[in-house]
Symmetry: C2
Amino acid sequence: MADVAALAGVSAGTASKALNNTGQLSQETRDRVRRAAEQLGFTPDARGRALSSGRTYTVALVTTDSTGRFSIPIMRGVEDVLSAGQLATVLCDTRDDPLRELTYLRSMVARGVDGFVVTGRRTEPRPPIDVPLPVVYALAPSSNPTDASVIVDDAGGATAAITHLLSLGRQRIAHITGPVNHRSATARAEAVVSAAGDALCGEPLYGEWSERWGRQATEVILRQRPDAISCGSDQIARGVCDRLRELGHAVPDDIAVTGYDNWSVMAMASRPPLTTVDPRLEDLGRRAASLLLQAIAGKRHRGVLELPARLITRESTLGA
Amino acid sequence: MADVAALAGVSAGTASKALNNTGQLSQETRDRVRRAAEQLGFTPDARGRALSSGRTYTVALVTTDSTGRFSIPIMRGVEDVLSAGQLATVLCDTRDDPLRELTYLRSMVARGVDGFVVTGRRTEPRPPIDVPLPVVYALAPSSNPTDASVIVDDAGGATAAITHLLSLGRQRIAHITGPVNHRSATARAEAVVSAAGDALCGEPLYGEWSERWGRQATEVILRQRPDAISCGSDQIARGVCDRLRELGHAVPDDIAVTGYDNWSVMAMASRPPLTTVDPRLEDLGRRAASLLLQAIAGKRHRGVLELPARLITRESTLGA
């Protein structure tokens, strides 16, 4: 530590503050000390640091479903921000089992983690976790509206897709989506109905999050003679494109198609590639981690923060 | 702790050993103490435990690619075994960046982790990491053959698919796979050539891991009049099925198709659903974590452990 301080041209106390992220120092001083530490290959002993500061510089990431493709990019965003701040991310996969979750929470509190990020694969509000530490919820908000939650603006994303279709001159817009008991399906469908207005063609068709449902629903919806089909997911949209092609309808010349998720495996492999809504889940994870760092530092955010989704335009609406 | 010992009917020392996974105790005694601790909601303070044992009961999971669908099930398996053993899994996503990896390794050693599991998305041997702690490699083995590595028997998996096709009476078997510079492609292709023998129809076609390549390669391979097409991945196999259907060939009546990966998004959504090889990556992660626990306990495994893949039969070879 003395060598680091000497190389950075600061006192040992300042070097220690810079490396431990404490005290009032300019960003320039912190950076200089960190560069010096990096140059000398110096790593503070984290256990010693934990003892002297009472902190472990560790955050627990609680996920109900680590195989889900929704929690993966969120995890990545969380880990990205925390590792940049020298905090370790401990993975807790509860497998959607409340008892397993409880065991984890106890164990992590006993380990002295500094806080929790809670995420999952659904967007329904979830019961808050009962821990005496800072918590931020990502994707699924806490059912307690004063807890800190970061969610995607699903309605805004669905509206952007419809606005895009209307701007292309489409006048008969149908909507095919997932299960009626999924908030992500209903939130998007309600936004579609509202944004499409008189251009709405038939009622939203609720079903399942699958290509098969997309193919089946296409046959039903064609009776309404739509010139655009907005879908609640990329899987559904891919099924829609496949069945339209099989039935001899050109996408987008006869019927434009939009998806939701920007899941590359579906959106890019679809024929044609899908115009879709990207919920920017990695950003969601980053934002949740930043809020948690602020909360750990004593500046606690309260309430739900809604992040914008982004429309990605491709051949399924624009043509080749 | 005294209450736990009393409820379990053992001494405080025995209860402590049982909860800290130390000493020579019967499994039955350990279980009894754990049940008592669970009943009383007792969680030992992990930091106190770390100080008294010199261990942190934490393992670092180093992955080159946490968004990859290969490392996800491995992570899940690792976390499953470690959490059952009361160890925390710390996530280190190196983004395939050697400098980032080095920073992580230093930071984790400074934190006093008990060991490392290293995984990634490719199956090529990788350089060993330089840490003074137990390490187990999963999926991509260490290039040092005396390190502990757990890998999938890719050749065995590919052979099982060919044996299945031969047992169904197929006599002209073609192979379409990924890039020639990917070990997973070449290892499977070599096994296919060897297992198919005289039934091999044309040389293996190397390309990319995509549906599009599957569709393109199908047109090429049809000139050889195959009655079966074995594919190096489910994505390729799905593209093959799509193009065969579009060209009027029935799967499997005219041509049987097999995939590789058992990636449900591809294997189940394919028309028809794919007979494929499941590399059992979650098991791979579990096995790696078990070997690491043994190494931490002083029983170090040396060398490469190859786990069997499993053939899953579905409509693309068996019919409806």
